[in-house]
C-alpha cells in the first residue's frame, strides 16, 4: 500500500511544475467537457477523469513516448492528451466534429491517436482487455521492448475475458501491465456489491502474475510505482497487475446527475481530501517550489488555453452527411442507401 507522500522527491522543480500543468490541464479540459455536454455541445455518453488525474499522469511519465502502447475503456480523454494528442482534435471528436480524431464517428468514448500509440477508447466493459494483451503480443512477436499499459475499471475486473487474458498473458510472457483503476464504483454499483473479493489485485495471483495494490491519488507514489513496474516488465518480459486505488469526483458519466443514489455526500467530501490536484498544489507551495501567485498564473493560463481549444474545436464543421460511409472498410465503400 501507499508509502507516505511526504518524501524528498527526485523530481526537479521544473518537472514538478510540468506535472502540475498536466494535472490542471486535464481537470480544466474535463470540466469544459462536462460544460459542453450540459450546453448540448457534446452528446452521447461522456465520462470524465476528474479526481483520477494522478494515475494517468504518473503512468504516462513512466512510459517511452511514441514507443509503448496504451489502451483503456471509455474514460479516455486524459491518456491521449498526456501522450501528445492534439487537444483540439480530442475536443472536436467529443463534440462530434469533422476535425476530430475519428472525424466525428467515435465521440467521447472512442478517442484514438494511433500515431502516438494510444489505442482507444472502448465502450464494452472488459472488451478491450484482450486487445491490450494483443498489443503486448505484437511487441513480443516483433522482438521489441515495448510494454503495453491496459487500463480497466474495477467493474471490468469481473469480466470473463479479463480472466482469459490474464491466463494467456502469463502463459505467453506478454509485457502487458493491467492497471485496474479502482474508483470504487462500477457505474453506480459499489465495489462490495459487485466483487466477491474487493482486493482486486489478487485476481492476478492465481495466474502467477505479480500483483499489487497502490495509491492512485498520490502523484509522487504513483510516479515511483509506475516507473518501478514499467521497468520491471520491460526487463523481465512478464505481465503485471496493479490495482490503483482512486476515486472519481464526478458521476459515472455526464448524464449521472444523482450520485447520492449510490454514495453519500459525506463520503464524497471525505474523498475530496485525497484530491491529487489540491495536494500537489499544497506541496508545491509548502515546499516553496512555486509561489501561490505563480500557480494562479499557471491556472489562468491553462484555463485560457482550454477555452481556446474549445473555440477551435467548435469552429470545426460537423461531418458532411456523405462521410457516413467513409472508413467502414479500408478499401471499399459499403452499400449505400436505406
Amino acid at each position: 500500500m501507499a508509502k507516505s507522500a511526504n518524501l524528498e522527491h527526485p523530481q526537479t522543480p521544473a518537472q514538478l511544475e510540468e506535472f502540475y500543468r498536466q494535472m490542471v490541464f486535464i481537470r480544466r479540459f474535463e470540466e469544459k467537457c462536462n460544460l459542453a455536454y450540459r450546453q448540448g455541445k457534446a452528446g452521447g455518453y461522456l465520462h470524465v477523469y476528474i479526481g483520477m488525474e494522478a494515475t494517468a499522469i504518473g503512468w504516462n511519465a513512466a512510459l517511452k513516448p511514441g514507443w509503448d502502447y496504451v489502451i483503456t475503456a471509455y474514460r479516455d480523454h486524459a491518456q491521449p492528451l498526456l501522450m501528445g494528442a492534439d487537444p483540439v482534435k480530442v475536443m472536436a471528436e467529443i463534440m462530434g466534429r469533422q476535425g476530430g480524431y475519428s472525424h466525428g464517428k467515435g465521440g467521447s468514448m472512442h478517442i484514438y491517436d494511433i500515431e502516438h500509440n494510444f489505442y482507444g477508447g472502448w465502450g464494452i466493459v472488459g472488451g478491450h482487455v484482450a486487445m491490450g494483451a494483443g498489443l503486448a503480443f505484437a511487441a513480443k512477436y516483433r522482438e521489441e521492448d515495448r510494454v503495453a499499459v491496459c487500463y480497466l475499471g474495477d467493474g471490468a475486473s469481473n469480466a470473463g475475458v479479463f480472466f482469459e487474458t490474464l491466463n494467456m498473458a502469463s502463459l505467453w510472457d506478454l509485457p502487458v501491465i493491467f492497471v485496474i483503476e479502482n474508483n470504487e464504483f462500477a457505474m453506480g454499483t459499489r465495489l462490495e456489491y459487485h466483487a466477491s473479493d474487493t482486493h482486486l489485485y489478487k485476481r492476478g495471483e492465481p495466474f502467477g502474475i505479480k500483483s499489487e495494490r497502490v495509491d492512485g491519488m498520490d502523484l509522487f507514489t504513483t510516479l515511483e510505482d509506475a516507473k518501478r513496474i514499467v521497468d520491471w516488465v520491460r526487463t523481465n518480459q512478464r505481465p503485471y497487475l496493479v490495482e490503483v486505488m482512486n476515486y472519481r469526483f464526478a458521476g459515472h458519466g455526464a448524464a449521472d446527475n444523482d450520485r447520492q443514489l449510490y454514495r453519500t455526500k459525506e463520503e464524497e467530501d471525505e474523498n475530496m481530501k485525497r484530491d491529487p490536484l489540491a495536494r500537489l498544489r499544497k506541496y508545491l507551495v509548502d515546499k516553496k517550489i512555486c509561489s501561490d501567485e505563480k500557480l494562479e498564473a499557471v491556472e489562468e493560463e491553462i484555463s485560457d488555453q482550454v477555452e481556446k481549444i474549445y473555440e477551435a474545436a467548435d469552429a470545426s464543421p460537423f461531418p458532411d452527411p456523405h462521410e457516413v460511409y467513409d472508413h467502414v472498410y479500408s478499401d471499399m465503400a459499403p452499400e449505400a442507401g436505406h
Binding site: 476530430g100 494483451a133 503486448a136 475475458v161 487474458t165 472498410y329 479500408s330 478499401d331
Partner: protein
C-alpha cells in the same frame, strides 16, 4: 497469356497450402487457435505448420475464443496479420463481441487510423452428427455486420484463391469452410500469386430456365440439381455467390434477367438466413424480370439433431431443391 500448371488437390489441402505459402512469404502472418499446432487441427487443415514454423507463429491457445480473438485483434491493429482458426464456426459465437463489437468497428471508430488485417476461418455448417452445438452456419450472422467481409467458397480453386485474398486484405475477413467440402477434389493453379477477388459471384453451370443461387456446399448441391434437371431437358443456371459481403448482385440479377426464375439455397436456418436477404434483393430489383416468386430452400428451423436420419432431414439436399424448382417451373 501463360497458363500456370494445374495442381490436383482437395479443398482442405488447398487451404493448407495457401496458409503455408503466405506464412512463408510474410513473417507478419501467424496462425492461432485451439489444437492447431501439436494436434494438427481438428480437421487437420494446419497439419505440418507447427513443425515448420514453430510455436511462435503456430499458436496453440487455451479454449477461450473471446480472449484469443481479442489478442489477435490487438496484434492486428499494430499491423500483424493473424489467421484465427475457430475449431468450428459455432464456437465463434463466444467471440461475437470481439469480432462484431470490436474488430468490425476499429477502422470506422478510429476514423481510418487503424486497420484489422485478420482472418477468422474454420468449418461452418454441419459436418456429420456433431449435433446442435457444433453445426451452426454463421456466415449470415456475420454478413449482417458492416466492417466485416464474409466469404464462403464452394470449390477447391476458390478456397485457395479466396483465402489468399483474405490474408492480403486489410479488413477483418470471415472465411467459412463447410466441413462437407474438405474432401472434395479440384485443381488450383501452380502459382502462389493466384487469387480470387471478393465481391464477384460466378456462374458454374450456364442455363436459361431457372437460376439456382447458393454458396458454400449448397453450390455443390445446386450443381447436382442442375445435372438432374438437364436429364429432363431443363436448363438451370448455377450462380455461386461465394462472397456474401461484399455481395455481387450484378451477376445474380443478370442471371435472373436471363432465366426469369430463381431459387436461393442455403444451409443456415431458413428464417432470417442470408439466403432470405438474397431472395429479397432479387425481388426488389428484378421484379419485372420475374415470371414466378423467388423461392428459398434453407435448413430446417430446428437445432441440428444428432441422429443421421434427422440431420439429413435438416440439411437441404437435391430433393429439397428440386421440389422448389418444380413449384415455379
Amino acid at each position: 497469356m501463360a497458363t500456370a500448371t494445374l495442381i490436383e488437390t482437395t479443398f482442405r489441402d488447398a487451404i493448407h497450402k495457401c496458409i503455408d505459402e503466405e506464412m512463408e512469404r510474410n513473417p507478419d502472418v501467424f496462425v492461432l487457435g485451439e489444437d492447431i499446432g501439436r494436434y494438427e487441427g481438428t480437421f487437420k487443415v494446419t497439419k505440418g505448420l507447427w513443425p515448420k514454423y514453430g510455436e511462435k507463429r503456430v499458436i496453440d491457445t487455451p479454449i477461450v475464443e473471446p480472449g484469443f480473438t481479442g489478442i489477435a485483434i490487438g496484434a492486428a491493429m499494430t499491423g500483424l496479420r493473424p489467421i484465427v482458426e475457430m475449431m468450428t464456426m459455432s464456437f465463434s459465437i463466444l467471440a461475437l463481441d470481439q469480432i462484431i463489437n470490436h474488430a468490425a468497428k476499429v477502422h470506422y471508430m478510429t476514423g481510418g487510423q487503424a486497420k484489422v488485417p485478420m482472418v477468422v476461418r474454420g468449418p461452418g455448417g454441419a459436418a456429420k452428427q456433431l449435433s446442435a452445438q457444433h453445426s451452426h452456419s454463421m456466415e449470415g450472422w456475420y454478413a449482417h455486420c458492416p466492417g466485416l467481409k464474409v466469404v464462403a467458397p464452394a470449390t477447391v480453386e476458390d478456397a485457395y484463391g479466396m483465402l489468399k485474398t483474405a490474408i492480403w486484405d486489410d479488413n477483418p475477413v470471415i472465411f467459412t469452410e463447410n466441413p462437407g467440402l474438405y474432401t472434395i477434389k479440384g485443381t488450383i493453379p501452380d502459382d502462389k500469386d493466384f487469387s480470387v477477388p471478393f465481391g464477384k459471384a460466378q456462374i458454374l453451370h450456364e442455363g436459361t430456365d431457372i437460376s439456382l443461387v447458393g454458396y458454400s456446399r449448397m453450390t455443390q448441391v445446386n450443381l447436382a440439381v442442375a445435372e438432374e434437371l438437364s436429364k429432363e431437358g431443363i436448363s438451370a443456371e448455377v450462380v455461386d455467390v461465394r462472397s456474401l459481403l461484399p455481395l455481387d448482385t450484378d451477376t445474380i440479377f443478370a442471371s435472373v434477367a436471363k432465366t426469369h426464375r430463381a431459387v436461393v439455397v442455403y444451409e443456415d436456418w431458413r428464417s432470417g438466413g442470408f439466403g432470405a436477404e438474397i431472395a429479397q434483393r432479387i425481388s426488389e430489383d428484378c421484379f419485372d424480370d420475374l415470371d414466378a416468386p423467388v423461392l428459398r430452400v434453407g435448413g430446417l428451423n430446428v437445432p441440428m439433431p444428432y441422429a443421421r436420419v434427422l440431420e439429413l432431414e435438416c440439411i437441404p439436399d437435391v430433393k429439397d431443391v428440386l421440389e422448389k424448382v418444380r413449384r415455379i417451373l
